[in-house]
């Protein structure tokens, strides 16, 4: 079924006759491994993001289950302290950077161009490059499991000076630093691409205020990525310089201030959590109107509040640092800005409820996940507001109360929406639909398991249980809560297993659907299934918000507009970008170089090029060759002339 994506509708491709660029190799395979390695098709790239993300979600989930096993009973020694520390560091890093973000990216890639009526993203090869660099980052992060140094173990925010060479001399932190650095490069590159795509590649008539909300949230998220990641890039560069060259950024004995790391990390870190939730909110804003069969309530306000959340998100970072002794004024300021964010978020919740009101709610599986999202995200948001009250947070910070808060917003929020999105767009992606019975079953197991796992953590935290602890004494009053949480985690695990099993089954054997099985509203549902390589045979003209819904109800007007528009396009065919291997080559260069920087021991002495420098330079060379050939190959393409078999 994977090649449902690969089947070009009618590949009457013909090479472009224009001035031949300096091209060494033009891969043209449409199926098979090479076609995947050289693809520039946003749908295939989206699919690869999705597969990678779901794989890493399972990895992160297994890590979570190991955490829960260790904590099931007091004084347990199922894991050693070191293993436990590796586990939660990698659990968080994996879930955030390798599962939820790329899963959002999968939807950005697959859905967003379709929603705006585009044939591809603005820079298809850059898009492929982003994916391959993301994969390189994932590899670097996880190498530690297989080598002596061990996996990173400094916590997902890697506070200095614990992560400096003096306190963490092994390469595990180097791998964490380089891994995150690459993920940053990948995310920034991808987001620049999305920004340009959304702004520039909209179909005629698709004004900004007609953009589907998911696309809007993609845009806001892309801005957040582009503006937040540089902060962590700088922080990581500084840490890496300290570790590699002995500079003094965080070297206390020379006046370094470790708290600077904390600030730089959270300048990135807080926008990051909105990077995780805004796409989810976008998905929910698509699903609810579809299944309520009415437009989103207060579209402009929902869009505006999304942008508002993104903007405010840059002014609240120090709420993760209420206990670092910032002084009264700074604490008060950040406390107030943090509370302010509850307003635009509340607006979204209210508008979602407004969307339901007076609707015809068809309770399909995606709708259930979406409603589950609203409930759970609301709870998570409320514990967020409790954190925002700084003095109260002094008790909650770094306790299980925080763990409860962020799992409610991350799982009950982001993950539920993403799981809903998979169900929702599955028919569009693969032409099949998950059986309702199984879908609902997996929803209920996940919903119950999730609450059983994480609700008790509120109480654990308020009862004084600190986070990131590999053991606890039986006399602290934490036994029951932890045991329940562990049981819950396994229920959740069963739910996730059911979800995945059903998905995989459906992928191969599920009920076939035609296009637009949900009677949906946005443009992507106007496409045939599977979506042809070029997406739209004729670029659609958009007449209203909820373009496809309008089209379905105003067929004549739309047909007229299309007829006026189509011949021009048909005459010169559809321009398709050539496939290219160079994004992959450049990414491999980056991977090699990063291995050189982070995994290999420092060179013995000055004067000779030891293995570290050699590998690093080799990687750099491969990268440069890749980039040059990429540039010389040019952004040319070929034309296809699909047959006129469907409108």
């Amino acid at each position: 079924m994977a090649d449902a994506l690969a089947k070009p509708e009618s590949p009457v491709g013909e090479a472009h006759a224009a001035p031949k660029a300096l091209v060494l190799w033009r891969p043209e395979a449409k199926t098979g491994l090479i076609s995947w390695l050289t693809t520039v098709d946003h749908k295939r790239i989206g699919f690869m993001y999705g597969v990678a993300a779901l794989f890493f979600f399972l990895v992160g989930g297994v890590e979570a289950l190991l955490i829960r096993l260790q904590l099931a009973v007091p004084n347990n020694n199922f894991l050693t302290a070191q293993q436990y520390n590796e586990m939660f560091t990698m659990h968080a890093t994996t879930m955030i950077f390798l599962a939820v973000m790329p899963l959002s990216a999968a939807f950005f890639n697959f859905i967003m161009p379709l929603q705006i009526g585009a044939r591809d993203v603005a820079f298809p090869r850059l898009n492929a490059f982003s994916f391959w660099v993301f994969l390189a980052g994932a590899v670097i992060l996880n190498i530690g499991w297989f080598i002596h140094d061990g996996a990173p173990n400094g916590g997902w925010f890697g506070y200095t000076p614990l992560t400096t060479r003096g306190f963490s001399p092994s390469h595990s932190i180097d791998m964490w630093v380089m891994g995150l650095q690459l993920l940053g490069v990948a995310s920034i590159a991808a987001s620049l691409n999305f920004i340009v795509t959304i702004l520039n590649m909209r179909a005629p008539g698709m004004t900004m205020m007609r953009l589907p909300v998911f696309t809007w949230m993609t845009l806001v998220t892309a801005f957040l990525v582009v503006l937040a990641f540089p902060a962590i890039t700088i922080a990581l560069i500084e840490l890496m310089m300290d570790r590699l060259f002995g500079t003094n950024f965080f070297e206390v004995s020379n006046g370094g201030m470790p708290v600077l790391w904390t600030h730089l990390f959270w300048v990135f870190g807080h926008p990051e959590v909105y990077i995780l939730i805004l796409p989810a909110m976008g998905i929910i804003s698509e699903i609810l109107p579809t299944f309520a069969r009415k437009p989103l309530f207060g579209y402009p306000i929902v869009v505006f509040s999304g942008a508002c959340i993104g903007f405010l998100g840059f002014g609240v970072w120090s709420h993760h640092m209420f206990t670092t002794g910032m002084g009264t004024v700074a604490t008060a300021a950040f406390s107030m800005t943090t509370m302010a964010i509850a307003v635009p978020t509340g607006v979204k919740i209210f508008n979602w409820i407004g969307t339901l009101w007076n609707g015809h709610l068809t309770m399909r599986t995606p709708m259930r996940f979406a409603l589950g999202f609203i409930w759970l995200f609301m709870i998570g948001g409320f514990s967020g507001v409790m954190h925002a009250a700084a003095p109260a947070d002094a008790q909650q910070h770094n306790s299980y109360f925080v763990v409860a808060h962020f799992h409610y917003v991350l799982i009950g929020g982001s993950l539920f929406a993403l799981l809903a999105g998979i169900h929702y767009w599955f028919p569009l992606m693969f032409g099949r639909r998950v059986s309702e019975g199984w879908g609902k079953l997996s929803f209920w197991i996940i919903f119950v398991g999730f609450n059983v796992t994480f609700f008790p953590m509120h109480f654990l935290g308020l009862n004084g249980m600190p986070r990131r602890t590999f053991t606890y004494d039986p006399n602290m009053g934490w036994n029951t809560g932890n045991l329940i949480a562990t049981v819950g985690a396994f229920i959740l695990g069963v739910g996730v297993a059911v979800y995945f099993t059903v998905m995989i089954y459906t992928f191969f054997k599920g009920e076939r659907t035609g296009s637009d099985p949900w009677d949906a509203r946005t443009l992507e549902w106007s496409l045939p299934v599977p979506v042809p390589e070029y997406n739209y045979r004729v670029i659609p003209t958009v007449h209203a918000r909820d373009a496809w819904w309008y089209e379905k109800r105003n067929k004549d007007e739309v047909a007229r507009a299309r007829a006026a528009h189509a011949p021009g396009e048909a005459s010169h065919g559809i321009h398709m970008p050539f496939q290219s291997i160079y994004p992959l080559v450049s990414a491999v260069g980056i991977l090699i170089g990063s291995i050189g920087v982070s995994v290999i021991d420092a060179d013995p002495g000055p004067g000779l090029i030891g293995p570290k420098l050699a590998v690093t330079l080799a990687g750099l060379a491969v990268f440069l060759v890749g980039v040059y050939l990429w540039a010389l190959e040019g952004n040319e393409g070929y034309h296809v002339h699909p047959e006129e078999d469907h409108p």
């Binding site: 070191q82 339901l356 309770m363 003095p391 308020l462 004084g464």
Partner: protein, 417 residues
């Protein structure tokens, strides 16, 4: 009932819960214990003004968000049920009117949300200023202490109690403070970030290298409080714990006076060094992470602590003297200070001058008794992984203790009251 015999905690909690629900006015304690929120580090059963202020604020945030949750949740539930298209016919009916929103409703709801936030914001702001530093009117009365975090233990210094030739009075892992007086604690770190957290007295403040943080708190009554490092600080962060002991004015003064004395040396005859060889039983095997506290200490920790201030009943001067010698021989002195023992001026480890008078050792992880102390010095790395006592940096110290040597050291350390 057969399923839950009355003796099980679950059944008792369940019963207590029902009882609590039956009585509309819950008395402060019952619902907390019903939910199991009465732990040693509970933030609900507070014993000081700072923690109380924080708890009050927490309640306010709870009330406000609960209220919003009930209202919004009720509307959401109602909308879901009311507009649920139950039948196939419903689903294929004409779509509902395509309404786009209602600005008046929107603005009203935004206003309501802002209002709710103001209710939270005002006490928050008050709380920020109140919990930040000792209130001006009681500044003069405040007692000052310096707490320093190390991987993975705490050092406490009393700058007001200077000891001639030895600087301020120093102890470790158990902070003794005067009850009923505000205490302002300067927070320092000598390696990585740590955090100082005694939930019943006050929320946490971090100990950050190169940063002059402080916290203030007040224990309203004499008491014994559990504390914990609350910032991830490496391998043994989980077991970096400590205690705070609050004493009445007189008792506190006595304690300070006693602490200022050098280590007690048990009267041992000069010749006692030729003591008879102790037939030392090998130490029993401990599972990793095995708990090291007794029930008696659990139930009445402050009494336990007081009891430890008194000399042991049966002390073997010869054994103690042997331990005292071993303390130097085995290079313990290079890291530990024991005022009164020549050469014992190490500062990389906790001050042990009166270690015998502490109720816990190893950062509050183990109860202080001969058995647990022996477990500790037998192999500290097994108690606290990555521990810096047997391992300095990443070099293993080659300290080998025979069973009898362990016993002698234990006897010596236990005698340091």
């Amino acid at each position: 009932m057969a399923l839950f015999p009355l003796t099980s905690t679950f059944a008792r909690r369940a019963l207590a819960g029902f009882a609590a629900l039956a009585v509309p006015l819950l008395s402060g304690c019952s619902w907390q214990s019903w939910l199991g929120l009465d732990g040693k580090q509970s933030t609900f059963q507070v014993e000081g003004p700072v923690a109380r202020d924080q708890l009050q604020l927490f309640y306010i945030t709870c009330y406000v968000t609960f209220a919003i949750f009930i209202i919004v949740g009720a509307i959401l539930a109602y909308a879901t049920l009311k507009f649920w298209a139950h039948s196939d016919a419903d689903e294929h009916a004409e779509p509902p009117p395509q309404g786009h929103g209602n600005p008046l409703v929107e603005v009203g709801l935004i206003g309501a949300a802002v209002l709710a936030l103001v209710v939270i914001a005002i006490p928050t702001l008050k709380g920020i200023w109140y919990t930040y530093d000792v209130p001006a009117e009681s500044k003069a009365d405040a007692y000052e202490v310096v707490a320093t975090g190390y991987q993975w233990w705490f050092k406490f210094e009393y700058p007001k109690e200077q000891i001639a030739g030895a600087g301020p009075l120093t102890c470790a892992n158990e902070l003794v403070i005067p009850a009923g007086r505000p205490v302002r604690i300067a927070l320092r770190s000598m390696d990585v970030m740590h955090s100082f957290w005694v939930p019943k007295l006050a929320g946490k403040v971090d100990m950050i290298p190169n940063r002059a943080n402080f916290i203030w708190l007040k224990a309203e009554h004499p008491g014994y409080f559990w504390g914990q490092c609350a910032e991830f600080c490496g391998e043994s962060h989980a077991v970096m714990r400590f205690r705070v002991v609050a004493l009445g004015p007189q008792e506190f003064r006595d304690w300070v006076e006693h602490q200022a004395q050098p280590a007690r040396s048990v009267a041992a005859a000069q010749g006692a060094l030729s003591f008879a060889h102790v037939a030392a039983a090998p130490i029993r095997a401990y599972a990793p992470n095995e708990a090291g506290v007794s029930a008696a200490y659990e139930t009445a920790p402050l009494d336990s602590w007081r009891a430890r201030q008194l000399p042991n009943e049966s002390e073997d001067p010869a054994l103690i003297a042997r331990g005292r010698a071993l303390f130097s021989e085995k290079t313990c002195i290079s890291c530990h200070t024991v005022r009164g023992v020549p050469g014992a001026m190490g500062i990389t480890g906790p001050d042990l001058t009166h270690v015998g008078a502490r109720s816990s050792i190893a950062g509050g992880l183990l109860e202080n008794n001969s058995e647990q102390l022996r477990r500790w010095i037998h192999n500290p790395g097994a108690v606290k992984p990555g521990n810096k006592m047997w391992v300095t940096g990443y070099l293993v110290n080659n300290i080998h203790l025979a069973s009898d040597e362990e016993l002698a050291l234990v006897a010596f350390l236990q005698s340091l009251k």
